[in-house]
């Protein structure tokens, strides 16, 4: 420590952010060897985790595989299920004559858009089928409740790309067990009272009620929105973005399945309502639902009623939990010898399940650029802050895109289209895409959070009008398109005939597990 080495990392706060960071860092740095960096996680025994982040991205498969976790152990412990898409209901327009407007943001495309872009060919077609079905076999698979793989596929392999729905509380527990038993993380239960800084303004230790002073060379702030270290102790301010994303409350309800064989959805179902949207996430043992809304446009009671109406008669016996949310991000995520990961760093409404993904991404960057020597701190700080400011801004743009393209007419939705609420970066992109297809050159950053395919599913799903007809002769690869579309139709048939339902597969995973080969 005296010679400037970083040997002791203290992570403050458990939850998904704390334990995922602890597991990744300790595994990466070989913390179970005494000569390596030691990782300690201090968790308050009194503060419950928020625990409503229940959707991941496909990156979670690599995260778990890298931690040497068997996929079935994770699935069974965390009541996880397979997620292949977000299904957007009534985002484009409200239901008309009982008919929902629906589109899918899928994880798999028949061909990656950066290799060959089908999008302009769909835009110029008669649009007999929607874009998701044009460009991927996965929409029919989601609609049919099928899983992305069979029991004969090995762990983490899929016939289609997939992520997970999971029980966030169980997931933190699962990672805690693995971090402590396998990777040498020390777990301390204590409440933080204050933070001590040294002469150069770095954090030197935290004071806890139960265990007194805990010293460290490097601190990870996973204290959630309280942001005890980066915010309170180091004074890094919070930049609210409620002028862009208006939702400020969520009300959540857990809904049991009524029958043992009820279908488990392979998509997160996101349904738009008058002043926000509901999530509906099918785990193996229950559904997690919630309404994210803006309290300027609807009362809390009305919001709860919206959620109850969405769930139906079943909601009568269920209790709801309200959570205040504040979208925004810290002016810096890394300051001196402290980095914030999770809700302490930033929060945006969970529309595209970016929260856990950005925790993974933050922990990955921290691992690979870990400053073993304090001399490296300044350079890593800058790199990390630049990278994550970019990623959070792009995430905000992408979420805003969903609102901005909606044709809904309620006040909340109209307000979302007001020019002052839309980031210039988003308007600029949309201007470009009016007259040309989305391009891989629009996504030049290696760590772009949302890729070209994602944008195209949302743009086309929301009915964004592209004028490409004047330039139709440019899009002349008709033979290639024809053969891709043929392949897509064939694959749809094959997958529908061979894939089990999500529930069938989860039952088999419990009984047999996946093979590692």
């Amino acid at each position: 420590m005296n010679d400037g080495m970083i040997n002791q990392v203290v992570i403050v706060g458990g939850g998904t952010a704390g334990w995922l960071t602890a597991a990744k860092l300790a595994k990466y740095l070989s913390s179970n060897k005494s000569e390596s960096v030691q990782v300690t996680l201090v968790e308050s025994p009194d503060i419950p985790t928020v625990g409503v982040g229940e959707g991941t991205w496909p990156t979670m498969r690599k995260t778990l595989a890298d931690l040497d976790i068997a996929e079935h152990d994770f699935i069974n412990y965390c009541n996880a299920s397979f997620k292949q898409a977000t299904k957007f209901v009534n985002w484009r327009t409200p239901a008309q004559n009982g008919q929902d407007s629906v589109y899918y943001h899928l994880f798999s495309s028949i061909v990656n858009a950066d290799e060959f872009n089908l999008s302009p060919y769909w835009s110029l077609s008669d649009k007999q089928i929607d874009y998701a079905n044009f460009a991927s076999p996965q929409a029919v698979i989601c609609e049919g409740g099928f899983a992305p793989k069979t029991i004969a596929n090995r762990g983490y392999d899929g016939l289609l790309n997939y992520a997970y729905h999971l029980d966030a509380g169980k997931f933190a527990d699962f990672l805690k067990k693995i971090s402590c038993e396998r990777f040498g993380v020390k777990h301390l239960a204590a409440n933080v009272i204050s933070t001590n800084l040294n002469a150069s303004g770095e954090i030197s230790s935290i004071e806890t009620k139960e265990l007194g002073r805990i010293e460290g060379d490097f601190f990870v702030d996973c204290t959630g929105t309280r942001c005890l270290l980066l915010g309170e102790a180091l004074g890094i301010e919070f930049t609210p973005i409620n002028d862009i994303l208006f939702t400020d409350n969520a009300i959540a309800m857990q809904v049991p399945y009524q029958n043992e064989d009820d279908a488990i959805s392979s998509s997160t179902i996101s349904t738009a309502h008058a002043a926000g949207w509901t999530w509906d996430i099918g785990l193996s043992n229950r559904r997690g639902t919630g309404y994210v809304y803006c309290s300027d446009f609807v009362s809390h009671d009305q919001a709860e009623q919206t959620l109850r109406d969405y769930i139906g008669p079943q909601a009568e016996q269920l209790s709801a939990r309200r959570i205040k949310i504040a979208s925004g991000y810290r002016k810096k995520f890394w300051e001196k010898n402290c980095v914030a990961i999770g809700m302490s760093a930033a929060f945006v409404e969970p529309l595209e399940a970016s929260a856990i993904f950005l925790i993974e991404a933050s922990a990955n960057m921290l691992c690979e650029l870990f400053p073993r020597n304090k001399k490296q701190l300044g350079a890593v700080e800058k790199k990390f802050n630049d990278s994550f400011e970019y990623r959070w801004k792009r995430t905000i743009d992408f979420i805003k895109l969903h609102y901005f393209l909606s044709h809904r007419k309620e006040d909340f939705w109209l307000e979302n289209k007001s020019a002052s609420s839309v980031p210039d970066s988003l308007l600029e992109q949309l201007d470009n895409w009016k007259y040309r297809p989305v391009s891989r050159y629009d996504f030049q950053n290696t760590f772009e959070p949302f890729i070209q395919d994602s944008y195209q599913y949302v743009l086309h799903g929301m009915g964004y009008v592209q004028e490409l007809g004047y330039n139709a002769s440019t899009f002349n690869q008709h033979h290639t398109v024809e053969s891709i579309l043929k392949k897509n139709e064939k694959l749809k048939q094959h997958l529908q005939n061979n894939l089990p339902t999500n529930r069938e597969l989860l039952t088999k995973v419990k009984a047999f597990g996946f093979q590692k080969i």
Partner: protein
């Protein structure tokens, strides 16, 4: 097709079992399960592979009788294209299954729908006074032997998985006068992975008595050529 009933001397006293040197019941099977103890003999005649059960994802140890589903290249009219017959074929139409009232006990079952079963032709199961014939005693012994080898076979498979010795194979077969086709879904022991095994794992495998089985699997890949020849001569 299959109507397995527990053998009962009152009901089944008159039954006789014919032997069929062409093992016609396997005519549609391109794989059959084999035991780890049979591998030295199996490898001389059949390719050995590990395949995944589509229902459970778990591995079975099998001999290949054909290269395509429902293709049995060994079955022929009145005979079989090999001198060694795996016990799975020999035991037909009998099975050993847990008794209905005492699941820990096993009873001999018989497929009454098999056309090898009649009251007129073949070996009797019971004598006129209701005693087991030496034939049935032999059948029972064979079934018990096969059953006693299941755990060892499972242990062999699990050891190969745990030591990461299996790799997935896909073959492209080009028959002489026919279109080429792909064989997928086969896993075999990877010779280079086996050779790279560290000393302690190698010793562990030796002490479990699996070296002969591993070499049998490795040698058996030579029998693919035999199957291709049989395909060509069809």
């Amino acid at each position: 097709m299959a109507n397995f009933q527990p053998l009962n001397k009152n009901q089944h006293q008159a039954l006789k079992i014919e032997s069929d040197p062409s093992y016609a019941h396997s005519a549609q099977s391109h794989i059959i399960p084999v035991s780890v103890f049979e591998l030295p003999q199996v490898q001389a005649e059949y390719p050995i592979a590990f395949i995944k059960d589509a229902e459970t994802g778990r591995f079975h140890l099998v001999a290949l009788l054909g290269l395509r589903p429902q293709e049995n290249l060994f079955h022929k009219k009145g005979g079989w294209n090999s001198l060694f017959i795996p016990q799975y074929l020999l035991n037909f139409p009998f099975v050993l299954s847990p008794s209905a009232d005492q699941p820990d006990n096993f009873v001999v079952g018989i497929n009454l729908d098999s056309n090898l079963v009649s009251e007129t032709k073949g070996e009797a199961l019971f004598s006129n006074d209701g005693e087991q014939t030496p034939y049935l005693t032999k059948v029972t012994e064979n079934l018990l032997r096969a059953h006693s080898q299941l755990d060892a076979t499972q242990n062999f498979i699990q050891t190969m998985i745990d030591k990461s010795l299996l790799s997935s194979q896909s073959l492209t077969i080009k028959p002489k006068n026919n279109e080429e086709f792909n064989v997928t879904g086969l896993y075999t022991i990877d010779e280079s992975l086996f050779n790279e095994l560290n000393d302690s794992d190698h010793l562990e495998i030796k002490n479990k008595g699996f070296l002969t089985a591993i070499y049998s699997c490795l040698f058996s890949t030579q029998r693919i050529a035999k199957l291709v020849n049989l395909t060509n001569s069809k």
